[in-house]
Amino acid sequence: MNLRRTLVFLVIGVLFVVYAATLPIVLWGDGRQLLGPSQRTDYLVLLAGFGTAVLVAFHHMPRVLRQYTQALHDLSADDAEALTSRLLSGLSPYAARGVTLSVQGGQADLDGSPVVHKVGGPAKLNVDHNNVVVTSRLGKLSRILGPGVHNLRAFERVWDVVDMRPQRRTVTVKFMTRDGIPAFCQASIICRIASSQLEEFEGAMPPFGYSERAVLKVTTSKAVRKHEGSDRVSDWVTGMAMDVLDGAVRDVLEQYRLDEFLNPQYWLEEGDVPAPKLLLEFEVEIERIVRDKGAERGVIVERIELGMVRPAEEAISRQWLEFWQAKLQKNIDITAMEAATDLEQLAEDARIEAQVRFVNRMLEEVQGLISGEVEVPPQLIIASFLEVLYAVVSDQGPERQRLFISQAEDFMRLATTIPQDPQSPPTAELPASPQSR
């Protein structure tokens, strides 16, 4: 019970007692003689009348003020009466349940007293161990209240609540690689409000410390994003995720080409393809940037988790798949080719091809002999044969050429050991060797 309320009761009590004591003396003498029944009735009536008038005055003024309060704050009669009572008398130590506002989970209890929410105190404010509250009073930021039970002053209301627990937010960052290919990746931030002291996780104290400066910074640097809508004002975590993290990830990743994030060619260990950068390198760089910006906002960034960079175009993934397929196909083709060349069939084909080629070449050589009825000397056939032989040999390796020349010379020696017939045509000359040609 506050002093003003006590004074009012005291004044009323004194007035009543003085009146009650004075009345019989004034009306009926010095009070040493007993009052008759009618006098007693008159006394009681006058006393009751005075008492009623005093009580009416005492009761009526709060009603007048309640009507004003009800209109001023647009409240129901009951709420206005309760509020007026608290405004006039302060909080009773036996404050009813309705005048306590709880703050937990980063927000004021919406099921709590709407009057405290809308108008403010006097009321009790119960702040949970994870939260910090910034209050406002009559258009000015008033106090920063940590965990515990607090008395809200008249018209002091909860302006903002900060959840001290580590907050995680995940954003999908879309960006363009340096070679102009749209890509995206997921990034998560784990952050919390900066603390002025080391947290000591002991049962008797709140688990999270906080810096008043950081809390004030965080709550007053919210940005208004649009005119209407429930999400018109971004909270501090959203600001960290959507503005700081999103921007930092994009600013870092857009400096690289797609192949610098993921390049299957590098892993073939062929040529001088530059190595893709490790995700960790990006993560460290982004974390540094986000930490610096968070510190400016009064936020501690615990860590950043950067997901894989993925191309937004399906054609890229398809190309990677096709490349992987081609890589496998290459091995399959080589194996198949080697298998095919080992087959006898292939050899047989080659034999037939060789015969065809040989016949064709011989045919080319003897083509001139079949026209007309001229005599075809055997030396010409042998010469043609040898011509073809040298032609075949010409595209072979030097060792093989030497072998063939030796065979051909043996063959010629054998064929020319015939005694010279004077009627026969001259012995066919050995054609020039492929080397001499």
């Binding site: 009603r63 006039l88 060349t341 063939f404």
Partner: protein, 547 residues
């Protein structure tokens, strides 16, 4: 007489009880009451103290004083009224705040009541046989409840009226607002909620609508006007408005962020979508937000300049709201969009994705970064900006964003804006899908080249293997042929050797050509030709043997 007195008491109690119940559910609707000059105090007096039935405590004294009941009745009514009149007169509630026209009427009325009461009192006091003690107690019992109620009002009213601590004469203000509420000229009261002004207590239009109370949120101020004249910027906090002042607009002092996407064309004719954002607020100067102090802004002039920078643009709007101005919060982003569109037109599409990675290389004329830096400088000059020594970021879009921000800052700083941030924060996308597809194709070419290299290498290996096989087959066949002919020649005598070689070569050739697999691959004329040569050789041989 005792019974009458008891009846009067019962009537008083019941009347009080019933009135209390009635008034609980009924609000005073002051603004609908007819307002008469000088009548407001009495209206408030009746509506506030009337329900106390202040006459009854005095009426109970009828028959106990040595006075006629008429005296008692009149004095029971006049004595409390006299107290109330004096209170109304000396509190200044209805005579200050520009209500001086009430003063005379109030003085006359209160003076009349006081005079009349004094006369009645004097008349009562000169009545024969009057007990001054009884009369004094009667007067006290009549006046005390009313005085008590006035005292309670005085000590309680400031507690229920939301006023700043720095208000002058808080009691008078509080009484003015409370009693004004019950008069025919209530003081208009506004609250700012979620950035909008909400009128809680209506003023009386017939007698002006001030002075009143305006309570803002911590983060906004309200521009007030009187008639068509802007008077001041009020808040943040609980502000007493002057007579005739009404809220014109609420201005949010918090940081604002707006974003938009601009469709621009690069210098190589490619249309791109460029996202742009702008972070700004009312010029704050060097002040910071702190506890117990109003949310800072540099000067009223800044707030008013920002507000009156709002533009009317009927394009794209219905006839109904064609002349409604766009809010001031849209101005920075609109200007940013315009500057951005201008800036992008200086760059090629490839430059937009490029950046200055090496500051030294950017000074070498043939380096692409030199060209980009040159473009940055050109944009800077064309936007009318001074030379920035640090121009050129690792990403072109960052430099464009900074340049646009500087340009917007230059244009809007004189209008009270403080540009706190913004830029091109999201990826620049070509409008046409073809561009992206083309870029993807270019990227794919590296993979395709690699795959083709593989295929070529396989083909080369295949060709090499096939060539080797063919060479081996050729050599085998020829070696076999030579070996067979040589073997046969050993058993043949001299003269027949040549014919035999020729004959055998041709025979083997025909043999090969007749093979179905070889024949399939030879021209049709091959076999007849060989057979013809063979016949010739045979005929020639026959002619030689039988000349």
């Amino acid at each position: 007489m005792v019974a009458a007195r008891v009846g009067l008491l019962v009537f008083y109690l019941m009347g009080t009880y019933l009135l209390n119940r009635y008034l609980r559910g009924h609000h005073p609707t002051s603004s609908t009451l007819p307002a008469s000059p000088g009548g407001e105090p009495w209206m408030a007096l009746v509506r506030v103290w009337g329900p106390t039935l202040w006459i009854f405590p005095g009426l109970l004294w009828i028959g106990l004083l040595d006075l006629s009941p008429l005296f008692v009745i009149v004095l029971s009514f006049l004595l409390p009224l006299c107290c109330l009149s004096l209170f109304v007169l000396f509190s200044g509630v209805f005579t200050s705040y520009g209500q001086s026209e009430n003063r005379l009427a109030l003085i006359l009325m209160a003076g009349s009541i006081l005079l009349f009461t004094t006369l009645i009192l004097l008349a009562a006091l000169i009545q024969p046989g009057i007990s001054y003690a009884k009369f004094g107690l009667f007067c006290l019992s009549s006046v005390t409840p009313t005085t008590l109620s006035i005292w309670l009002l005085i000590i309680w009213a400031p507690a229920v009226v939301p006023m700043s601590d720095d208000v002058d004469a808080p009691l008078r203000v509080a009484l003015s607002l409370v009693l004004g509420f019950f008069s025919s000229v209530p003081k208009t009261t506004w609250f700012v909620e979620d950035g909008k002004v909400s009128r809680r207590i209506d003023g009386n239009a017939g007698r002006g609508i001030g002075p009143g109370l305006l309570v803002t949120e911590p983060e906004n101020v309200v521009v007030l006007k009187t008639g068509s004249r802007i008077t001041r910027v009020a808040g943040p906090g609980a502000v007493l408005t002057q007579r005739g002042e009404v809220p014109f607009r609420v201005v949010d002092l918090r940081d604002q962020t707006r974003s938009s996407t601009v469709s621009a064309i690069t210098r190589d004719g490619i249309e791109v979508r460029v996202p742009i954002s702008s972070a700004f607020r009312i010029q704050r100067g060097s002040r910071q937000v702190s506890l117990g102090a109003p949310w800072p802004y540099r000067a009223q002039r800044d707030v008013l300049q920002v507000l009156f920078a709002e533009e009317v643009d009927p394009s794209g709007r219905s006839a109904l709201d064609a002349h409604t101005a766009y809010p001031w919060e849209d101005l920075p982003i609109k200007l940013s969009a315009h500057k951005l569109e201008q800036a992008v037109s200086f760059y090629s599409l490839d430059q937009l994705y490029d950046g200055i990675v090496d500051a030294k290389a950017a000074r070498v004329p043939r380096d692409p970064q030199y060209e980009l830096l040159k473009t940055h400088r050109l944009v800077e000059t064309s936007l009318g900006l001074s030379r920035d020594r640090q121009l050129g970021d690792r990403l072109c879009r960052q430099t464009i964003g900074k340049t646009v921000r500087r340009s917007v800052q230059q244009a809007l700083a004189p209008r009270g804006f403080e540009i706190a941030g913004g830029g091109v924060g999201s990826p620049i996308e070509p409008v046409s899908r073809t561009i992206t597809e083309q870029r993807v194709e270019a990227w794919k070419s590296r993979f395709i080249t690699k795959v083709m290299d593989w295929q070529e290498s396989i083909e080369r290996k295949r060709a090499a293997a096939l060539g080797k096989i063919r060479q081996e087959a050729d050599s085998k066949m020829i070696s076999g042929l030579i070996a067979e002919i040589s073997k046969r020649l050993k058993d043949v005598d001299g003269a027949a050797k040549r014919e035999l070689v020729a004959y055998h070569v041709l025979d083997r050739l025909i043999g090969m050509a007749r093979s179905s697999e070889v024949r399939r691959m030879l021209p049709e004329s091959a076999l007849p030709a060989l057979e013809k040569v063979f016949e010739k050789i045979e005929r020639d041989a026959d002619v030689g043997e039988n000349p």
